[in-house]
């Protein structure tokens, strides 16, 4: 099965600006950024520390309001202006559409792998206990964590923990998945597993995935790459001999 990149962008950032006060000085962290993200694609956002990558991710994901500009997300074919929604509506928008992966796994130390995933379904969508358990187990199996359902984070390796964190982000099949440095704490073997899982998510769930990272090795595995320097965005070239493009073959 293959999912071609849709012509219509699913997430658009239009003329985004964001500044922060820094010791009495105002610094433009995001400076007139416009770009499009597409369904079924992984977009990589690179840049040095302090270049505004995480800020841009926060603006796009509805966590941090821009000073100016628009974020348009397509939901069921209709564009939604994320920053014109009320806070409550935005929270519900994120509930329906967004998954997050962060560098720190941020798993509840007391809960098992299964419970980490179940909690999202049960608290977020009010899914019943039995159904949530089944879906959590299916997702864990998909992540290669069969047999680890009852393990707590302290009993898992770093790579396994990150896979659980990915499972938590993907369990509700989000339209948009935002990943902040998902591989930087992992060895490259585990990092490859992570990026492979993200590719499968883009492929199978037709998710729009944006990855913020300064990990150059990811370039080979993404569809689009942008470079952010001092708040300004430029599209960067991808290596010619990129290895992984599974969902494009046959399109």
């Amino acid at each position: 099965m293959s999912v071609p990149a849709d012509d219509q962008p699913t997430l658009r950032g239009i003329s985004l600006y964001r500044s922060f006060s820094d010791g009495g000085r105002t610094r433009n962290v995001i400076d007139d950024v416009t770009f499009d993200l597409h369904r079924g694609q992984i977009t990589l956002l690179m840049g040095p520390s302090g270049s505004g990558k995480s800020t841009l991710l926060a603006i796009l994901s509805g966590l941090l309001a821009p000073d100016r500009g628009q974020v348009l997300a397509r939901e069921n074919g209709h564009p939604v202006d994320v920053w014109r929604l009320s806070p409550r509506e935005r929270e519900q928008f994120r509930l329906r559409n967004c998954g997050f992966i962060f560098q720190g796994y941020n798993l509840f130390p007391a809960l098992t792998s299964r419970q980490q995933l179940e909690i999202v379904l049960r608290w977020g969508d009010g899914v019943g206990g039995r159904d949530a358990r089944r879906r959590a187990d299916e997702m864990l199996a998909l992540l290669g964590l069969k047999g680890k359902e009852n393990k707590k984070p302290s009993q898992l390796s770093g790579g396994e923990k990150q896979r659980v964190a990915i499972g938590r982000a993907l369990i509700k099949r989000p339209r948009f998945c935002f990943a902040d440095e998902p591989t930087s704490a992992l060895d490259w073997g585990s990092g490859q597993v992570v990026i492979d899982l993200l590719q499968r998510a883009a492929h199978e769930y037709e998710s729009t995935i944006i990855v913020v990272s300064h990990d150059q090795r990811l370039l080979e595995h993404v569809d689009v790459s942008y470079q952010l320097d001092d708040g300004r965005l430029t599209e960067s070239d991808l290596p010619a001999d990129r290895g992984l493009e599974p969902w494009r073959t046959g399109s």
């Binding site: 995480s54 991710l57 941090l64 519900q92 798993l107 007391a110």
Partner: protein
Amino acid sequence: MNYSLATLWHERPRFLPGIGAVAFSAVLIALQCGLLLGLFKITSLPVDHTSADVWVGSPEVNSVDLGRPIQLSFLSRVAGDPRVDEVEPYYQAFASWIKPDGGSELCIVIGSNLENGSMGALKELTPEMREALTEPNAIVIDSGERGRLGVNGVGDYAEINKVRVRIVGETKGLKSLAGPYVFCSRPTARLLLRNMTPRDTTTYYLVRCHHPEDAKALAEDLNNEFHDRHDMTAMTSDEFSFHSRKHWLLKTKAGIALGYTALLGLLVGAVVTSQTLYAATTASAKEYAILLAMGIPRRKVTTTVIVQSLWVGLFGIVLAYPTVHGLAELGKLFGVVIPLPWQILTVAAAVTMVMSMLAGLVALRSVRQIEPMNLLR
């Protein structure tokens, strides 16, 4: 499956101070109430351990130990009522006890009829003691009061209001709050209390009704009938017992002391519990932040903290229950009776449970501080 409980169990060391604080509060409240109840049961002991249905005493008498003399002629007011079966005088007053070694102590002399079936003789006075008390100037004391009275027991002599008395028996478990009880016959009491209780007076009339259920109506009727004379009060035994305890509770400010101690216990419990929950929530702030980022409503996290506070409260109370009973048993070894009726245990549990939940509400500020954006910095 309960995520709150799972967290509580996994992070036991973190939650233990909170559970301990709740247990501390519950134990403190239950023991304080029990101690006070035990203490004030002593004040109504002469009422509770005699068998009258109605007590007739001086006007507005608030406590059994505060009765002033009333006229013996009031007998006709009471005995004439068809509901009344029997009436007998009963003497009770403070007196000066001179120890054999010369020291002095305040005691409470109680003089009553001693024959079988008499209302005023306390249940603890055995037939042998009653027989012995018929001798002039014979008295019975409680064995627990030997130290206060400076005597060694039966056979010893002492002085009450300058009259030489002889101890002919000892009861057990009739310790008093204000002064040791001294039991004697009516004639002996008349002699010992001659200065406080003039001729032709008594401290109380004890009344037995043909039907005990008539007691309340009889007392009310007597009060109404002689209301204008302002010279006597009638109360059922239950009312008089309650008034005696209440009087001591309020007048001695012991109730206020109890309130303050309980409040202090609650405050300590609330602060520790609140801090425990606050720290636990803050420790999981990043995990909660991810859920908030994913659009899960903040109230879910709020509910978790409140549920955690309820678990902390419940575990605290479970811990407190055996502790309270253990301490009460320990108290018995030292002669301190701590009654723990279910009402006290229920109130202590309910108050600490509410405290725990309020502590949870205070700790909610930690939830308000959770900001998903912080994960991206």
